[in-house]
Amino acid sequence: MTDKKEWPLWEVFIRSQHGLAHRHVGSLHAPDAEMAIMNARDVYTRRNEGVSIWVVRASDIAASSPSEKGPLFDPANSKVYRHPTFYEIPEELGHM
């Protein structure tokens, strides 16, 4: 009953109307990139959700590992001065 080999998994990224960056929306199986884009249109943009589609083979994505979340992201924790709210601006100056 099952086919001999499973189609590769593709991750789908869509850019919406308003000039935002492509955003991951989900994944699907397809034999090649061309079919993946056609399927992605039907699965992920049935209501005009996008103006551009990227598909990437899931196996080609390198990802940070969840167990290294600490060492990887901790260094940013202590750098509060990277946020505008760190600085006090005299009220009489108004908006800055």
Binding site: M1, T2, D3, E6, W7, L9, V25, G26, S27, L28, H29, A30, P31, D32, E34, M35, D42, V43, R46, R47, A63, S65, P66
Partner: protein, 331 residues
């Protein structure tokens, strides 16, 4: 619901003391509403239960296309046909979102297809009832999608990231499903006496099976308790059923239709409708494979899969040919 009576493989709820350090850290994250993502550590029972639940849900979306698909070529107007086609296509999409979510837990799409096509996998009892008139299409959108929404809205907050995200996508699309169904029912209920009778007949036949969708009372179920602890189930079956009745009865009244339950009565003290007992024997018969359409649903599913084989083979051959050409060109 679309996933009914999902077993968790546990026989009691562990206390925090009984848990391993990993299990405790996991439960703490769940308690704090931190989403669990695919590659993170999770208890084996959580993973397995989620695969069962999500795949049952996915299979329901896929089989669920059949009762409605039955009327696409016979819809009363071109507009109704286009709407129904779009709705059924959405259900296919829902199945696909959910299969992808299940796959992140380490089960392959082929395994899932095999489980469905071999009859091993379960899907919601509701899709084993026939659609014998056009009014059934209205009733399904209104009641069946209505009941599904009851369950899916809280699941948007479930603990597993990919499942939660699939639910968010699905919920965005569901309200169109329910509205188009109610709209079709409204047309019939305000139509000729024959049309109104058709709408009433559809309500008569779909009311109780819709209440069964929530599953038998699970107040005593250790599986439900465990699933709630893991936040992959948010409300009890009785709670959701009550909510559904409370919401739907006024909608039926508005249509001038009668809910087929002599025990249905507003209870001012409780602030809820009281309603009659569901025929659970019928429910168990249907999930055991003896509903009116079980065999037909599976046969149709397998036939579609087999008849689509040449398309999959052609797509494979074309992809291989293109890849070979690209390779030759690069060489």
């Amino acid at each position: 619901m679309y996933a009914q009576m999902v077993k968790t493989g546990v026989d009691h709820i562990q206390s925090k003391e009984e848990m391993s350090p990993e299990e405790r850290a996991f439960q703490d994250r769940v308690d704090q509403d931190i989403k669990i993502e695919p590659k993170e550590w999770m208890p084996e029972a959580y993973r397995k239960t989620l695969i069962r639940q999500i795949s049952q849900h996915a299979h329901s979306e896929i089989i669920g296309m059949q009762p409605e698909g039955n009327w696409i070529t016979r819809a009363p107007t071109l507009e109704r046909k286009a709407i129904l086609l779009a709705k059924v296509q959405d259900e296919a999409g829902h199945g696909l979102y959910l299969y992808c979510a299940a796959e992140t837990l380490g089960v392959s799409r082929d395994e899932l297809m095999e489980q469905l096509n071999s009859g091993k996998a379960k899907y919601s009892s509701i899709f084993n009832y026939p659609t014998i008139t056009w009014a059934d299409i209205g009733a399904i959108g209104w009641l069946v999608d209505g009941a599904a929404i009851m369950n899916q809205v809280p699941l948007q907050r479930c603990s597993y990231g990919p499942y939660s995200r699939a639910m968010i996508r699905i919920c965005k699309e569901e309200s169109f499903h329910q509205r188009q169904g109610y709209d079709a029912m409204t047309k019939l209920a305000r139509g000729t006496p024959e049309q109104k009778a058709m709408a009433q007949d559809a309500l008569n036949r779909w009311w109780w099976p819709s209440l069964m969708m929530f599953g038998p009372s699970d107040a005593e179920s250790v599986h439900s308790a465990q699933s709630m602890r893991w936040k992959i189930k948010i409300n009890s079956n009785d709670e959701l059923r009550q909510k559904f009745v409370d919401q739907t009865v006024p909608q039926a009244e508005y249509l001038g239709l009668t809910v087929p339950d002599p025990d249905l009565k507003w209870n001012a003290e409780r602030g809820h409708y009281d309603f009659g007992e569901v025929n659970w024997d019928e429910f168990y018969q249907v999930i055991a494979g003896n509903g009116p359409c079980n065999r037909d649903r599976l046969r149709t599913r397998v036939k579609a899969y087999e008849e689509g084989r040449w398309v999959r083979d052609a797509a494979d051959a074309y992809a291989a040919k293109k890849a070979a050409r690209a390779k030759a060109k690069a060489a």
